[in-house]
């Protein structure tokens, strides 16, 4: 058990060191979601002057969505680090180590989730400072719930990225496949518009098989107290998704070979 924790920590530590050495990655991960917030949030909000459900301003509605989006993008692309490690040979160094494959997966998840959650927290600070999310709606419990949703969402999508990285071994195919996945995951998640009875049934059904839908719904529940499902339902679905994807990723990592 201590071996597993040490291994997770070791792999996490390496991811952190690599991230901190790359200034472009730091600027990119923080800058991208802020640009989204400025352009999509403000732009669409102004265009529609929309009040979701009659009372929630669009920019407030979309804030948890953009937090979810940040986590999705940052997490799922983390699988690319496995492909780089394979190309530079470092993956072999990890694979021959006497550590469980679960700890390798958890280490990668810990590393990428730290970065994803920190970036998402940056968005949170911005939306609070600019009064987009009213301070009155915040509570300690709500922030804790939000953090749990962030971590679970990140774990789910890092694991999804690792699964794809374990199956595919070149950068180009990985990026094509991830892009192919990210768009429907994002647009069906309810990040930008509410998933409600007003949508056609097929769109509504597709949204319900998108893990990010429950994650963002839960984030909205904990942050602005507005959601399709009760928080407990969102939490249960998000935990189940994380467990499923981590299990698959671990199984695939046990079969991965050095060449």
């Amino acid at each position: 058990m201590t071996g597993t924790i040490d291994a997770v920590y070791t792999i996490w530590l390496r991811e952190m060191k690599r991230f901190l050495k790359s200034k472009s990655r730091m600027v990119g991960s923080g800058g991208q979601p802020l640009i989204w917030l400025a352009i999509v949030g403000v732009g669409l909000g102004a265009a529609f002057a929309l009040k979701v459900n009659g009372s929630v301003p669009y920019l407030t509605f979309v804030s948890p969505g953009l937090i979810g989006m940040t986590i999705l993008f940052s997490s799922i692309f983390a699988g690319v680090s496995v492909i780089w490690d394979r190309q530079f040979g470092f993956l072999k160094e990890i694979l021959v180590a006497p550590v469980s494959r679960l700890s390798i997966v958890l280490g990668k998840i810990a590393g990428s989730s730290t970065i994803a959650v920190m970036t998402a927290l940056l968005i949170l600070v911005v939306v609070i400072v600019f009064g987009i999310v009213p301070i009155a709606s915040l509570s300690v419990l709500g922030i804790i719930e939000l953090l749990i949703f962030m971590l679970l969402t990140s774990a789910t999508f890092v694991a999804m990225g690792l699964i794809i990285a374990a199956l595919i071994n070149n950068i180009e195919s990985f990026q094509v496949l991830i892009n192919f996945l990210v768009m429907p995951l994002f647009f069906l998640s309810g990040a930008l518009f509410p998933i409600s009875g007003a949508l056609p049934i097929w769109l509504d059904a597709l949204s319900h098989i998108d893990p990010l839908f429950y994650a963002i719904d839960g984030m909205r529940a904990s942050l602005i107290h507005f959601s399709t499902y009760p928080l407990i339902v969102d939490m249960a679905v998000t935990i189940i998704c994380a467990v499923i994807f981590i299990t698959i990723a671990t199984a695939l990592f046990s079969r991965i070979e050095g060449k």
Binding site: G3, D6, A7, Y9, T10, L13, R14, K17, R18, K21, S22, F88, G89, F90, K92, E93, I94, L95, V96, A97, P98, V99, S100, R255, E257, G258, K259
Partner: protein, 331 residues
Amino acid sequence: MNQGSGIQDAIVVNSLVKRFGSFTAVKGISFSVKAGEIFGLLGPNGAGKTTTISMMTTVLSHTSGTIKLFGVDALAAKDSARQMIGIVFQDPSLDDELTAWENLDFHARLYGVKEGKKEIIEKVLRLVELQDKADRQVKTFSGGMKRRLEIARGFIHHPKVLFLDEPTLGLDPQTRRNIWDYITKLNREQGLTIILTTHYLEEADSLCNRIAIIDHGKIIKSGTPDELKRSLGGDVVRIGVGRKTELMRLLKGKPFIISVKESDEGLEISAKDGSKAIPMITRIADTKGISISYATVKRPSLEDVFIHLTGRNIREEGADRESSWKKFRGR
């Protein structure tokens, strides 16, 4: 050196097979390595050396057969096996973004080295003379420095067996010599069992206690370097001649000749006494007006054994398969 029968077997490989689809890369290899031995796996590229080492180091799954490391089933109890082995892969396997120290620290942590970690890392860095470069990013290192760092990393966790897959490929002679010095020192001082593959047969000859020659996925010969050389049964006489086949036919069956083979420039003859054989060969050639451009005689080297057994020169074969820079450096 450690040839006594009382010494424990470090590694026992039995009927090991690896198939990739319809292609069988390793066709039932069996051998054993004694504790404290330096054991060489030699063979042309594509012979199955790296595939064999990859299975022994748990990098690659096997199709059938068994591998035991100090009595532990390496194919089942993978983590116990992993803890016992250190590996220097044929291709680089460092994190270029991290410093030398950070690479070694990562390794020490993954292998659960806690007590005296700092001292151990300092010690291995000194051993490969990289102590001054500890805080430099690995991407600033030369090929030789990276190799030395990988070797240092390979024995940080006090492995019982060190696997070295072409550890000196692409390095200059000076660096090569240094690396072998470190490796023999480890073997001598710490009793580390070492399994290596190399293209440099002279190095294998001087380093290895025992050698197995692999070709087409099978071990075709194994023994001490001396045993292998003696197995040729005599001296190697090389003669430069244009009409190879004709002369070969004339020489076959002559009592002073053990065997005759065609080589690139002429014939390669194994004879009981090389210096006496040359005048006799010249006389036979003269009777048919076959002109001989040169004749050399030498005690058989490992290279001769290799050519005799595989019909190929280890480096030529290597050059066909390796990328051009490796071909260039490998010579």
